[in-house]
């Protein structure tokens, strides 16, 4: 059969337009649109004492200026708290335009609309905003110390205290043969997709309807938010995510102020309005992630088995909490990884700072959790003089323990019950792939060359495919074309290809006949969004179910026509065939025509379905009760809970003790995301994730000064890796299909990034023998660390020095 494409490395269909410049990204839409630009706060914390727009008024081409005073009704209220949670006791969100106070550099204050962006920016820079500066809080430690408050009425700066526990941790620690405690930090980075955000809005004054294009990961919810905020009826608003130039999480947040203000202006002005975010705006006005301070106490026995784990985290959520405490919850619950943790307590205090909001960035709290757990494993191994892989092995959940219930509550409000996996299998593959047992030989070889070599590993479990649901619609047209729609959006994951593969396989049609639409509320208005490695799991399964519905209907109609039992029919290459009876067949396109009884023949094919085309059964209506015209089906997939993918990474680093440059000489990945729709696409996701993991470990950080000014808000200064910084990646696969969904899929989008920081920290620590407790780490910081007499030596270093094995 040629149509069983599930699991094949099918080349991507979206590439045909993208490689010839025919993609359609946000700023490619609406050449005649007016342009919006924003006056944004230059201060991290200030009261606005005045806005003087007079200087802008004589700029030729200026169309409109909006401040908070121009907002009414729901637009004058704070932006929504998208994901409320009982433990988020002090949520705060900003306004579409600042209402008297700004809480981070980059917060929008004034929107200017002009005939083009150049002129809009001319006008914006002539608007004078006066401020009364307020004390600034930057970083979790300052937030925790609370010498000042970010929001006056929240004096301790704590937005939420997220707390989960699986038993009584204090007596469990007291009863543990051994304990150790440590504190570590992880810094901020950001998604930084190559295309920033952007919004285009067009108001049809006659129809009183609004079409919005947004570079978003959640078009259906943007639609609902616009309708609610602008007082429009939902059916009068359509939102489309066109080609989106990367997301990585930042575009799941919504409604961004611009997603409301641009439509507001388009309606008020009766003209198309567009805003395309520039790179500096993206750094200072979108979202970041990852800064945490982690205090960890672990109890363990002489074999390195964990007996109890107590974790207290301070999580920097930036100035506002529009995305609730999802990142803290994910850190808290994914921290336990592939391990048996008999008693676990975690508290995450989510604190306000005068910095850009913190919302999910690929991994979404998992890299921090992995960093906490995996560095704990390293510490136990070091204390006991055990191989780090052995300590991990002894703590792993075994393959016969699934489903494994951690007795925690995940970000979807559902229990953390691992559905399937083989963690010892992952570890065995990883050791072989990276050459774990040869590390000492490599170390000696590097030492002979004057280099310090170290190896590290990290394992993770990733909850993927959270609900509540996604849907799919599959329709066969009389032309034979198969239209597929799902509501969630695409940002480069190749959904047009992988969803087409699913439909081609399920329905038995050539993939060339399948057309997939994502993220267009006109085609599918019910959806949640693309985040949390959920698109293939959620929409993939929904589309498969929809295709199965179409197949069932097609076989029913074909059985009538061919006078056969549906059980004897098969579909291949778009033709329904009575199995073993050559010549007894009917094309799906004909079934599509017959499925819709007609009065009018609008084309040649349609004639077959008209009322005098052939003898009918006069005892039944043309459309039977319970049936519907058309060869189409809509279905939904709503999971009982998330499905848990897993993996293990290892890194070998070589460090030059003259420059302290850190070179990753080997990076090994073992990856398990269950059944794979398209292995080429999954490997691509792993590659990209690893690059971001390496970036977060060695290069990227948001360099805020103490005044809350982001000192590196450009690609000149924020060290996003080029090809020269990303190591070659060796990948091995394992597949433990999910028993939770029809296709056995687990998510793959975020996996690559999760263990990078932990594995690389471990490798550097192994190389230099100094405790690495703050990531990312630059050559300068490493130099300072090894030269600091107070920096902590590892036990392994001391032992190795004693035996003379260390250079």
């Amino acid at each position: 059969m040629t149509t069983k494409l599930f699991g094949e490395p099918v080349r991507r269909r979206e590439d045909a337009r993208l490689i010839v410049g025919k993609g359609r990204y946000l700023d490619d839409i609406g050449h005649n649109a007016l342009a919006a630009a924003f006056v944004r706060s230059p201060h991290a914390h200030a009261r606005i004492t005045g806005i003087d727009v007079d200087g802008a008024l004589d700029v030729e081409g200026l169309v409109a200026i909006y401040t908070y005073e121009d907002l009414t009704g729901p637009m004058a209220e704070p932006l929504p708290v998208l994901i409320p949670h009982p433990q988020l006791t002090a949520p705060r969100t900003g306004y579409p335009l600042a209402n008297g106070e700004v809480n981070h550099v980059g917060e929008p204050i004034v929107m200017v609309v002009a005939t083009d962006r150049y002129i809009a920016e001319d006008a914006a820079e002539r608007i004078l905003v006066s401020y009364e500066e307020l004390p600034v809080i930057v970083g979790v430690d300052a937030a925790r110390a609370a010498a000042h408050a970010v929001h006056e009425e929240i004096p301790d700066n704590v937005a939420a205290r997220h707390h989960q526990q699986t038993g009584d941790v204090d007596p469990a620690l007291a009863a543990s043969p051994r304990t150790l405690s440590f504190t570590q930090y992880i810094e901020r980075s950001a998604c930084t997709p190559m295309e920033g955000k952007g919004v285009h809005a067009k108001w049809d004054a006659d129809d009183r309807s609004l079409r919005v294009y947004s570079s978003t990961q959640a078009s259906t919810s943007v639609r609902a938010a616009i309708a609610a905020k602008l007082g429009l009826s939902l059916e009068k608003v359509e939102v489309i995510a066109p080609d989106v130039g990367g997301g990585f999480g930042v575009k799941i947040v919504h409604p961004w102020p611009e997603e409301l203000l641009v439509p507001l202006a388009a309606i008020a002005l009766g003209q198309e309005v567009k805003w395309s975010e520039d790179r500096r705006e993206h750094f200072t006005s979108s979202a970041h992630e990852r800064q945490q301070r982690q205090e960890i106490t672990v109890g363990y026995d002489d074999d390195g088995r964990i007996t109890a784990l107590d974790v207290h985290i301070w999580h920097d959520n930036g100035a506002y909490t529009p995305y609730g405490i999802i990142v803290p919850i994910v850190t808290a619950t994914q921290l336990v990884g592939p391990y048996v943790i008999p008693v676990y307590r975690v508290v995450v205090e989510s604190v306000y700072t005068n910095t850009v909001i913190v919302t999910p960035y690929r991994g979404a709290g998992r890299p921090q959790g992995c960093y906490a757990m995996e560095r704990t494993m390293d510490r136990i191994a070091d204390a006991l003089d055990l191989d780090r892989a052995v300590v991990r092995e002894r703590n792993l959940i075994q393959a016969d323990q699934f489903p494994y219930d951690h007795h925690l509550t995940f970000q979807d409000g559902r229990p953390v019950i691992y559905d399937s996996g083989d963690y010892p299998g992952l570890l065995a593959k990883l050791r072989a792939l990276v050459g774990w047992s040869e590390a000492d030989a490599l170390r000696n070889d590097a030492a002979a060359r004057g280099k310090l070599l170290g190896i590290g590993m990290a394992m993770y479990v990733e909850g993927t495919g959270p609900g509540p649901y996604e849907g799919g619609h599959v329709q066969v047209l009389g032309s034979g074309k198969v239209l597929v729609a799902t509501g969630l959006t695409s940002q480069g994951q190749g959904h047009e290809t992988s969803f087409a593969q699913i439909v081609a396989s399920e329905l038995g049609v050539p993939i060339e006949d399948v057309e997939v639409t994502t993220g267009d509320t006109r085609r599918f208005p019910y959806a949640v969004g693309t985040f949390a490695s959920r698109a293939a799991v959620m929409s993939g399964n929904a589309i498969a179910l929809a295709a199965r519905g179409v197949r069932e209907k097609a076989l029913r109609i074909a059985a009538d026509v061919l006078e056969a039992s549906p059980d004897d029919l098969e579909i291949d290459e778009g033709v329904v065939q009575v199995r073993g009876v050559p010549g007894s067949s009917i094309p799906l396109r004909t079934i599509a025509v017959l499925s819709n009884p007609l009065r009018y023949a609008f084309d040649e094919a349609a004639k077959q379905a008209t009322q005098f085309a052939g003898p009918g059964d006069d005892s039944k209506p043309p459309v039977s009760p319970g049936d519907a015209p058309g060869l189409e089906h809509r279905d939904y997939y709503s999971p009982i809970r998330s499905t848990f993918a897993s993996g293990a990474h290892a890194a070998i680093v070589e460090i030059d003790p003259a420059t302290w440059e850190i070179d990753i000489v080997k990076y090994a990945v073992v990856h398990d995301c269950g059944n794979v729709v398209n292995p080429m696409i999954v490997e691509g996701q792993v590659h990209g994730g690893v690059a971001q993991g390496v970036a977060g470990a060695l290069y990227e950080r948001m360099a805020y000064d103490r005044d809350g000014q982001l000192q590196n808000a450009s690609f000149m200064d924020f060290l996003m890796p080029y090809a020269s910084e990303v190591p070659d990646i060796d990948i091995d696969h394992q597949s433990t299909p999910s028993p939770l969904n029809p296709l056995g899929i687990k998510g793959a989008g975020e996996a690559g990034v999760i263990p990078g920081t932990a594995a690389i920290a471990s490798a550097i620590e192994d190389a230099v023998g100094r405790r690495i407790a703050a990531m990312p780490i630059s050559p300068t910081e490493l130099y300072d660390l090894v030269r600091n007499d107070d920096s902590e030596l590892t036990e392994a270093y001391t032992r190795r020095s004693g035996t003379g094995a260390m250079a």
């Binding site: 080349r11 991507r12 979206e14 590439d15 045909a16 993208l18 490689i19 010839v20 410049g21 025919k22 993609g23 359609r24 990204y25 700023d27 490619d28 050449h31 004589d58 700029v59 030729e60 083009d116 150049y118 002129i119 001319d122 998604c191 930084t192 997709p193 190559m194 295309e195 080609d243 989106v244 130039g245 990367g246 990585f248 520039d278 790179r279 940002q491 480069g492 994951q493 190749g494 080429m680 696409i681 490997e683 691509g684 590659h687 990209g688 994730g689 690893v690 690059a691 971001q692 450009s714 690609f715 000149m716 996003m720 080029y722 090809a723 020269s724 990303v726 070659d728 990646i729 690559g752």
Partner: protein
């Protein structure tokens, strides 16, 4: 009223076609290509010359069109991603080998940075002796100056090798 712009008419050959456009003197080449000439295949990722998404060829050399003014290409020849494929004189197009290789090697995901990579690599490949062995230094030179956030670069590097091999075989 304050008028901040003065305009110039620019005559430039774009993708082999003579074009004339009247633009404010401060208009970036990237904006002129995208918004005045409607060639939106050239993308703008940073507007400070670091990411390379906006790379086009000016008289055959890769140039960051966000760092050049439209008036600077007066009388010159510009090639954008829309002009990378050849006309097959039968109503279709023949893709440049690097375009084929990008699709074959999964060297793009979101596709936003792709035009910049394609133009830079195409310029590099077109200038070299296709019979010569492709060195890692050459590959690094062709991919090392552009940013991609999706692919981790591995498949882009692979695509350069693949395109070079195709060009060698097609000699």
């Amino acid at each position: 009223m304050t008028t901040v712009d003065t305009e110039r008419t620019v005559t430039v050959t774009v993708n082999g076609v003579p074009r004339e456009t009247t633009v404010p003197v401060r208009r970036l080449l990237s904006d002129a290509l995208r918004h005045d000439l409607g060639l939106t295949g050239t993308h703008v990722g940073c507007e400070h010359g670091v990411c390379g998404s906006c790379t086009v060829l000016v008289d055959g050399d890769p140039v960051r069109s966000c760092l050049m003014l439209a008036v600077q290409v007066e009388g010159r020849s510009v090639t954008t991603v829309e002009g990378l494929a050849r006309d097959d004189h039968r109503g279709g197009q023949v893709l440049h080998p690097v375009q084929e290789a990008f699709r074959e090697c999964h060297a793009l995901q979101c596709g936003f940075c792709t035009p910049g990579f394609l133009m830079t690599i195409a310029a590099g490949l077109d200038k070299r002796d296709p019979a010569a062995e492709l060195t890692e230094e050459e590959v690094d030179d062709m991919v090392g100056g552009n940013l991609c956030r999706c692919t981790g670069y591995a498949n882009i590097t692979k695509a350069v090798h693949s395109a070079a091999a195709a060009m060698r075989d097609a000699r």
